[in-house]
Amino acid sequence: MMLLRNLKFALNSAWQSFWRNLAVSLAAVVSITLILILAGINLLVGHAFSQVLDGFRVKVSEISINVSDDTPLSTIYDFQQQLAADPRVTSVTFITKDEALANFKQDPNNYVLAQQIDGNPLDAKLDVRVANLNDVAAIDSLARQWPGVDPTDPTNYQGDFVNRMLSLSQWLGYAGVGLLAVLVVVSIVIVMNTIRTAVYHRRKEIEVMKLVGATEWFVRGPFVIEGVMTGLIAASIALALLVVAYEPAVDRFRSDIAFLPLSYDPSFISSLARDLLLGGALLGALGSYIGVRRYVRV
């Protein structure tokens, strides 16, 4: 009952003080909004890259093992069974020489070349899908030791490319996290100082509250709630701007950098909204908490 009354009091005074000190409140809203926009862009770019990387991952986790023409079918079948039983492998598909040629001819890019082909120069192959990108190299070396492999062109595995993709995705992840961390620190400092200015104007009020026996949380409560309110308002503004700009920005970049398969992902907006609102509320609360600290302590 008492807790409810205190909460009511805190909500009331937070609301009143937000409007009473509108200039300071707006300054806080603007700074948090800008920070959250940066954080949101970071999240969106990170998401776009991870989508692109996922696409690459699917491609490079497939490895084709070329089978030399004189290999008996039973040997191929045995090896296919062996691969299928390997826990690292998701699936193995055998493609005969004829199927390989048919696939080749189907691709419109190969139209001119297909016209000139005489007979079937293509190998039969085993298409292996590997569960974890890190295991592709091991499967590749396994295939190269297999006697049935075409010694002139054993597999289509490009080790360097895969490794580079792996380290690139790792570094992009680190960079994103690092950037977010910097943003969080900068924003807490900004929010803290903004709110400390607001608190400074009300230090007399806090002094009186303390003198009549208000607990630290009773004094702090309204400020923290005001911080959360400020954070939520800022997050809503940032979110609205980002949502409006998301699709046009993707379209723009897609035409500029055609080789990156960027895509607009509306399902990501709900997770972005959650992150920004949560982040805004936390930022506001933390900034207020720290900002008031100095004045609340006797």
């Binding site: 009952m1 009354r5 009020e205 009186v208 003198l211 630290e216 006797v298």
Partner: protein, 248 residues
Amino acid sequence: MVLTPDFDSRPVISFQHVWKTYPTGTQALRDVNLVVPEGDFLFLVGPSGAGKSTLVRLLIREEKPTKGKIFVDGVELGRMKRRQLPHYRRKVGLVFQDFKLLPNLTVYENVAFALRVLGESDRLIRTRVAEAIDTVSLSGKEQTYPSHLSGGEQQRVAIARSLVHAPRFIIADEPTGNLDPATAWEIMQLFLRINARGATVVMATHNREIVDLLRRRVVAIDGGQIARDDRSGRYHDDVVTKSQVRAQ
């Protein structure tokens, strides 16, 4: 020598060999011993910088003693934990020279504030605040803001706030310092009424006329020490009485 005045009631406040040295090196209080029994009305007098304000600050636990012990209502202030402090302050009524009202709250809200921090119900707040405002004769001004009140009226609001939660004792630091003599006298009447109802009052003051007129207990502080403790004293030590007790 520890002073133990021969009052019947138990002490509400007792200072035992209290020293206070500020970080700057200023010795504000030196070996102060003081006992205030329940229901007492005590004037703290002395020149500026003598240590009156330090004594008040120690009493409301804005400062801790460097040496010695202060007991209020059986609790040793120096050992009180920080989170217990709000609960201690709620037992005390505080009145200051500069009133310390909240400018953006009305008279009613200012007085109610002391009960809001206790988490009291709206209904209880309404009756208690009405009583307190009536006690200080400010009925009808509930919805006025402090900036629209005279100094005397503002101090009345502060007094109403200090007694709305029925504290056992009231500490007043120069409550009449900003008021003209007539208004100061009215405010003093108010304190006497509160004291007559049973609250212990400790008042630091420079107001010589009032101290001399009321002939209550006077504790004179000079150079950080208690220079005089008279049961019914005057502002200045110009009449030597038998009841005069020298501390030191």
